[in-house]
C-alpha cells in the first residue's frame, strides 16, 4: 500500500468515524427537537386568550332608536359603510335621510344559536324602529341581536389575538395567494427548497442585499414557533432540522393549517393579530369566506412584513405589495388575467381602524376574578374561552367619560381637591345595573386604570351615610316588621335626640345643626334629617332595621350600634346598587351578574349563569319607599338632579359621611340603578356633600344614558293606592286645600276621610307648602284626626 493510499484510507476512516460519532452525539439532540415539535403540534399549539364580550344589543320594533345611534353601535362593531346595496356580512348602508338602515348582519357563533348572518333593513320613523325585514328571506323580523362587541382578551403575558380555523374553512384562493408569494413549491419540496435557496442566493447577490428569502413555509413555521429572530448559522441549522422533522411527522395540509393560523399579521396596541382569520376580521371586518381576491392578496402580501405593509400605515405600499402577489398568483395559475386585472382595480376597503382601547378594564378584571373561582388561570388565558357578559358598551363609555369629566370638574370648582399626586388624586366609582335582571351594564372602578387598578366599584367598602336611610324607612313602613308601622304621612319630631345603649349615649346631629321640628316621614327622608331618622329607628328598634337590611341583601356582620341607621356600616358601591335594585324592582332581589355564558373555543356552551330572582321584601312597601325617594329628587336633598335637567321619573338619595370623607348618590329609574361614589382612597375629607360631589356625576350619567329612552314612570303594584292628600293633614285633599300632593299608601292604610283643615278656608291658616321646610312653629304634637273629632 502506497503511502498516499494509506493517507486516503485513514482520512476516510476518520471521516466516517467522525460522522458516526457526530450522528451518535447529535441523536439525543435530534430526538429532543423531535419531541419538542411533536409535543407542541400534537397538543395545543397556541395559548389562545379568553375573549370577553359585551352584551348583545337587541333591536325591536317600536324601540326608540335613531339612525345615528344605531350607526354608532355598528361602527364600534366594525361595520363598513357602503353606498350601494349591502352584499357582504359587515356592510351597512344608510338610506336617504336616515329613514332606514340596511345592514348585513355578521355571522356569530353564539353557543346556543349560531347566527349565519343575513341582510336586514331597519325602517326608522319618528326616532323609533318602525319595521325590520330580513331581505334574504323576505320576512318581518321582530327582534334583532347585533353581535356582541369584544371587550378584551384575558391573556397571560403576551396578547395574541387569534381565531383558529381548520384548513377547509380557509378559501383555496387565499391559500394559493400565500403559497404563490411565500412558497410556490410547497407541495414539491421536503421541508427545504434547495432550488428556492439557490434562486434567492442569486437574487440577493445580484441585488447586493437581501431581497428574497429562501425559507419554506415549514421553516417559517419552525422559526415562528420555536426559534428567535437571530441570524446565526446555528439557529438556521436547528430550523432546518426541525423543518425536516415536521415534514416527516405531519402532512402538508396539517403544516399548512398550522402556518395559516400561526402567522403574525399586525399589531393593534398591545394586541398582536395572528392567523388569517383574525386578520380578515381586523383589516376588513369580514369572515374568510367573504374576502375578495384582492383582499386575500393583500393579506398574503403582509406576511413578509406585517407592519411595513399594513394598509393602515401605508396604503400605497400595501397596494403595491398586493399587486405583486396578484402577479405571482397569475404566474402560478391561481387566477387568470381578467381576475388579476379586476383585483388590481379594486379599491382597498378597510374596516374602520379598531379602537385600541379597553373601555371597561375594571369590569374585565371583575369578570376575570369572578371566573377564577371556576376556571384555572391557564384555562382563562390559554384555551380560547369565550365569555359573554352583561356589559352595555355604550353605557360603559358614557360612565367612564362622565366620571372622568365629573371628577375633573369638581377639581376645577374646588381647587383644594386638585393638585395631588396621581396615586392620591380625587377618586370615584360608578356602577349601573339593570334592576330586574341584576345585569351590570357599566362599571367604572376608578378615575384612571393606568394609575390605579383598584376597583372601587366592587371593592372599596366605605360608609354609605344617608344612602342607608331608605332601609330604615322601609323597616318603619313595612307592616310585616312588627305590630305597628308608619305611613308616609305619619309625623315625627325632628329635634335633638339622644339614644342610650350599652351604657353609652349617641346623639345624632342634623346637617348644619338645623332641626325642622314636627315633620312627616316623607319630609324626614326627603330632607335627610338625621335626628328624625334616628328617632324613627329608635321607635321601631334596631333589630327591625337589621332584619330589613338583611332581607334587602346587605350581608356580613352588621354593627349593633345605633349609628348604623345613619350608615356607619361599610358598603361597596356594588352592594349599594344591589340593595337599591331591590327597591327598583319592587322587592325582587337579583344578585348582580357580570357573566352570562362561557363557551369553549369550539363554541360549545360550558356554563350558563342564569338570571336568579328572589322575592325578598314586600313589593308594596318597596314602591312606597321608591315614592318617597322620588320626593328626594323632586324637592329634597336630591333636587339638584332636576335643577341639572334630568326630567325622567327617578328616585334617589344623597349620602355624606360625618367627616365628609365619602360622597354618594344612589338613584334609579325603572330601568337603571346607578350609584356614584366620590372620595379619596386615604379617606381624607372632601369637604363636600353627596349632593355637591356625587349627584352631578350621577345626573350627567343618567341624562346621557337615557337620552333616547322614553321616560317611564314607576308602576305601582297591586295593593298600593295613590291618593291626593293635603300634606298638612295627611288626609284626602278637598278643593279648598291650598296644597295637594299624590301620596302612596298600602291599600289598607289609604285615608278615606277628607282633610278637615280647610273646610272654612278663610279661617284656617294655610299649611306650609310641601316644597319648603315646615315651620318650626307647628304644634309639636298633633292629635290624630279621629281624636280631634271627639
Amino acid at each position: 500500500m502506497s503511502r498516499r493510499r494509506a493517507v486516503v484510507a485513514i482520512a476516510i476512516t476518520v471521516t466516517v468515524v467522525a460522522v458516526a460519532a457526530g450522528i451518535v452525539a447529535a441523536y439525543p439532540r435530534y430526538r429532543a427537537l423531535e419531541r419538542t415539535v411533536v409535543e407542541t403540534f400534537s397538543g395545543r399549539p397556541w395559548a389562545v386568550p379568553a375573549r370577553v364580550y359585551a352584551d348583545s344589543f337587541v333591536v325591536y320594533p317600536g324601540m326608540r332608536l335613531t339612525a345615528p345611534d344605531l350607526l354608532a353601535r355598528l361602527r364600534r362593531l366594525g361595520y363598513r359603510e357602503v353606498s350601494a346595496a349591502v352584499r357582504v356580512r359587515g356592510d351597512v348602508r344608510r338610506d336617504v335621510g336616515d329613514r332606514a338602515i340596511e345592514l348585513f348582519l355578521r355571522a356569530f357563533p353564539y353557543p346556543l344559536h349560531p347566527e349565519a348572518g343575513r341582510p336586514i333593513r331597519i325602517e326608522i320613523a319618528d326616532g323609533a324602529v318602525a319595521t325590520m325585514r330580513d331581505l334574504a328571506a323576505d320576512t318581518e323580523v321582530f327582534d334583532l341581536a347585533l353581535e356582541p362587541e369584544p371587550l378584551a382578551g384575558l391573556y397571560d403575558r403576551v396578547w395574541q389575538e387569534r381565531r383558529v380555523v381548520p384548513l377547509d374553512a380557509i378559501p383555496p384562493r387565499l391559500v394559493a395567494a400565500v403559497l404563490a408569494i411565500e412558497d410556490a413549491r410547497f407541495y414539491e419540496h421536503g421541508a427545504i427548497d434547495w432550488r428556492g435557496i439557490g434562486r434567492a442566493l442569486v437574487r440577493n447577490v445580484g441585488a447586493g442585499r437581501v431581497v428574497e428569502g429562501g425559507s419554506t413555509l415549514t421553516q417559517q413555521l419552525m422559526k415562528n414557533f420555536f426559534l428567535s429572530e437571530e441570524r446565526t448559522l446555528r439557529r438556521k441549522a436547528v430550523e432546518l432540522v426541525m423543518a425536516v422533522i415536521a415534514e416527516r411527522r405531519y402532512t402538508k395540509p396539517q403544516i399548512l393549517q398550522l402556518y395559516l393560523n400561526e402567522i403574525y399579521l399586525g399589531q393593534s396596541g398591545a394586541k398582536g393579530i395572528f392567523g388569517v382569520s383574525e386578520a380578515a376580521q381586523f383589516y376588513f371586518g369580514k369572515e374568510l369566506g367573504d374576502l375578495t381576491t384582492a383582499e386575500m392578496a393583500l393579506l398574503a402580501g403582509m406576511i413578509r412584513a406585517p407592519n411595513g405593509y399594513s394598509p393602515y400605515r401605508n396604503l400605497d405600499r400595501a397596494r403595491a405589495r398586493r399587486d405583486l402577489v396578484l402577479a405571482a398568483m397569475l404566474e402560478h395559475g391561481a387566477i387568470d388575467a381578467a381576475e388579476a386585472a379586476a383585483a388590481r382595480a379594486e379599491p382597498v376597503a378597510l374596516r374602520p381602524p379598531a379602537q385600541d382601547r379597553n373601555d371597561a378594564p375594571y369590569f374585565v378584571d371583575f369578570v376575570r376574578r369572578e371566573l377564577q373561582t371556576s376556571y384555572a388561570a391557564d384555562a382563562l388565558t390559554g384555551e380560547g374561552l369565550r365569555i359573554f357578559t352583561t356589559l352595555d358598551p355604550m353605557l360603559q363609555a358614557i360612565a367612564a367619560t362622565t366620571l372622568r369629566e365629573g371628577l375633573a370638574a369638581l377639581e376645577r370648582q374646588y381647587p383644594q381637591l386638585a393638585g395631588r399626586e396621581p396615586e392620591q388624586q380625587l377618586q370615584g366609582a360608578l356602577i349601573a345595573l339593570h334592576p330586574a335582571t341584576g345585569e351590570i351594564k357599566a362599571m367604572v372602578g376608578g378615575r384612571d386604570y393606568a394609575v390605579s387598578q383598584f376597583n372601587r366599584a366592587s371593592d372599596a367598602a366605605r360608609q354609605p351615610g344617608s344612602v342607608f336611610k331608605p332601609i330604615v324607612y322601609f323597616a318603619a313602613l313595612d307592616p310585616a316588621g312588627g305590630p305597628s308601622h308608619l305611613l308616609p304621612t305619619s309625623r315625627v319630631a325632628d329635634a335633638p335626640f339622644s339614644w342610650s345603649y350599652d351604657g353609652q349615649v349617641w346623639t345624632p346631629e342634623n346637617y348644619e345643626g338645623r332641626y325642622l321640628g314636627d315633620v312627616t316621614v316623607r319630609r324626614a327622608l326627603e330632607m335627610s334629617l338625621n335626628a328624625a331618622t334616628a328617632r324613627i329607628a329608635f321607635e321601631i328598634g334596631l333589630p327591625r332595621v337589621r332584619d330589613t337590611a338583611e332581607q334587602l341583601g346587605i350581608s356580613g356582620l352588621l354593627p349593633t350600634v345605633p349609628s348604623m341607621v345613619l350608615g356607619s356600616l361599610e358598603m361597596t358601591p356594588l352592594a349599594v346598587a344591589e340593595t337599591y335594585a331591590v327597591l327598583a324592582s319592587q322587592g325582587q332581589r337579583t344578585p348582580a351578574r357580570a357573566v352570562k355564558q362561557v363557551a369553549d373555543e369550539h363554541d360549545q356552551l360550558l356554563e350558563g349563569r342564569p338570571l336568579a330572582i328572589a322575592s325578598v321584601v314586600s313589593p308594596q312597601v318597596s314602591y312606597l319607599v321608591t315614592h318617597l325617594l322620588e320626593g328626594v329628587v323632586e324637592r329634597g336633598t336630591g333636587r339638584g338632579v332636576r335643577l341639572a335637567g334630568f326630567t325622567a321619573p327617578a328616585a334617589g338619595k344623597t349620602g355624606t359621611t360625618n367627616d365628609y370623607g365619602d360622597a354618594w348618590f344612589a338613584g334609579y329609574t325603572p330601568d337603571v340603578v346607578a350609584i356614584v361614589w366620590v372620595g379619596f382612597d386615604r379617606r381624607e375629607s372632601l369637604g363636600l356633600s353627596g349632593a355637591r360631589a356625587a349627584l352631578p356625576i350621577w345626573t350627567e350619567f343618567m341624562k346621557r344614558a337615557t337620552a333616547n329612552v322614553p321616560p317611564r314612570a314607576f308602576e305601582e303594584p297591586d295593593g298600593v293606592t295613590l291618593v291626593e292628600i293635603d300634606p298638612a293633614s295627611g288626609l284626602r285633599a278637598t278643593p279648598q286645600c291650598p296644597e295637594r300632593m299624590i301620596e302612596a299608601f298600602l291599600d289598607a292604610d289609604a285615608p278615606t276621610m277628607d282633610c278637615p283643615l280647610h273646610r272654612h278656608a278663610p279661617s284656617v291658616a294655610p299649611p306650609p307648602p310641601a316644597s319648603s321646610p315646615p315651620s318650626t312653629g307647628e304644634p309639636q304634637e298633633r292629635k290624630p284626626w279621629w281624636r280631634r273629632w271627639f
Binding site: V58, A128, A436, P483
Partner: protein
C-alpha cells in the same frame, strides 16, 4: 248595618250618641272589609296602630267576580276564595295579545316569550332560558316571561330557580285568572316534585280557585289524594 245600629238604639234620640254609633259602625265595616280602611295620622311615640298587617299580602288575589263554574273533575277546596267567572281560556299565542295599544317593550317581550315557549316545546330549555331572560330584560313586568322561565328551569332541572320565577309570575298575574291558575298549578307541580305535599296541595287549591277548569291542578290534587294512580 249603620241603619240597624241607629234603629236599635233605645230612649230619646241623641245626635251625639248617634254620630258615635254611626262612626263606630263605619269603622267596624271598614276594618271588616280588609281591603280599605280609614287611618289616623300616626306619629312616632304618640299613636300606634295595632291592626294586623295587610291581609292580602302574600295571599292569592281575592276573586272579585261571579261564582265559579265548577269543574267536573275537581272542586276547589273550601279554604279558597270564590273562583272567578267562567271564561274562555287564554292559551293561544301570546302574540295575539299584541294590538295597537300594546307598548313596544311589552310587544317585544311577548314575541320573545312566544319564541321561548316554542323552544320549550321543541325540548330546548337552555335556549328557551336565553330568550326568556331577554324578554325579562326588555319588560321586567311581563308575567308570561316569568311563567315560561319557571317552566324552562323546571325542564332544565333547576327547581329552586323555577320556584322563584313562578312566584314572581303569580304576583304579576294577579287578576288574570286563567294564567294565575296555570302559575299556581306549575308551582304545585314543582312542590310535588320536590316532595312538599302540603305546599303542592295548597298551590293546586289556589290554582283551582283562580281557574276551576285547570286540569293540571285537578289531576295533581287527585294524585296527592291517592285517587289518581297512574295519572302522572
Amino acid at each position: 248595618m249603620v241603619a240597624a245600629v241607629v234603629l236599635s238604639m233605645r230612649g230619646p234620640f241623641r245626635p251625639r250618641v248617634a254620630l258615635h254609633a254611626v262612626l263606630a259602625a263605619a269603622l267596624l265595616a271598614s276594618a271588616c272589609s280588609a281591603t280599605r280602611g280609614a287611618h289616623p295620622d300616626r306619629a312616632v311615640g304618640t299613636a300606634r296602630d295595632d291592626r294586623a298587617p295587610e291581609a292580602g299580602r302574600g295571599a292569592p288575589p281575592t276573586a272579585k267576580a261571579e261564582p265559579p263554574i265548577e269543574s267536573a273533575s275537581a272542586r276547589p277546596p273550601e279554604i279558597h276564595p270564590p273562583a272567578p267567572p267562567a271564561a274562555l281560556d287564554d292559551d293561544g299565542p301570546l302574540v295575539a295579545k299584541i294590538d295597537r295599544t300594546t307598548p313596544p317593550r311589552r310587544a317585544a317581550a311577548l314575541r320573545l316569550t312566544e319564541q321561548g315557549r316554542a323552544h320549550l316545546a321543541a325540548g330546548e330549555p337552555a335556549r328557551a332560558i336565553e330568550v326568556l331572560e331577554r324578554a325579562v330584560a326588555i319588560d321586567a313586568r311581563s308575567p308570561y316571561a316569568y311563567y315560561f322561565l319557571a317552566q324552562a328551569h323546571a325542564e332544565a332541572r333547576h327547581p329552586a330557580l323555577a320556584r322563584s320565577f313562578v312566584a314572581r309570575a303569580e304576583q304579576l298575574f294577579a287578576g288574570n285568572h286563567y294564567w294565575l291558575g296555570r302559575a299556581h298549578a306549575l308551582h304545585g307541580r314543582l312542590a310535588e316534585d320536590g316532595g312538599r305535599s302540603d305546599e303542592a296541595r295548597r298551590e293546586y287549591g289556589h290554582a283551582l280557585a283562580a281557574w276551576p277548569q285547570n286540569a293540571d291542578a285537578a289531576t295533581g290534587l287527585a294524585r296527592l289524594d291517592g285517587s289518581g294512580q297512574g295519572a302522572r
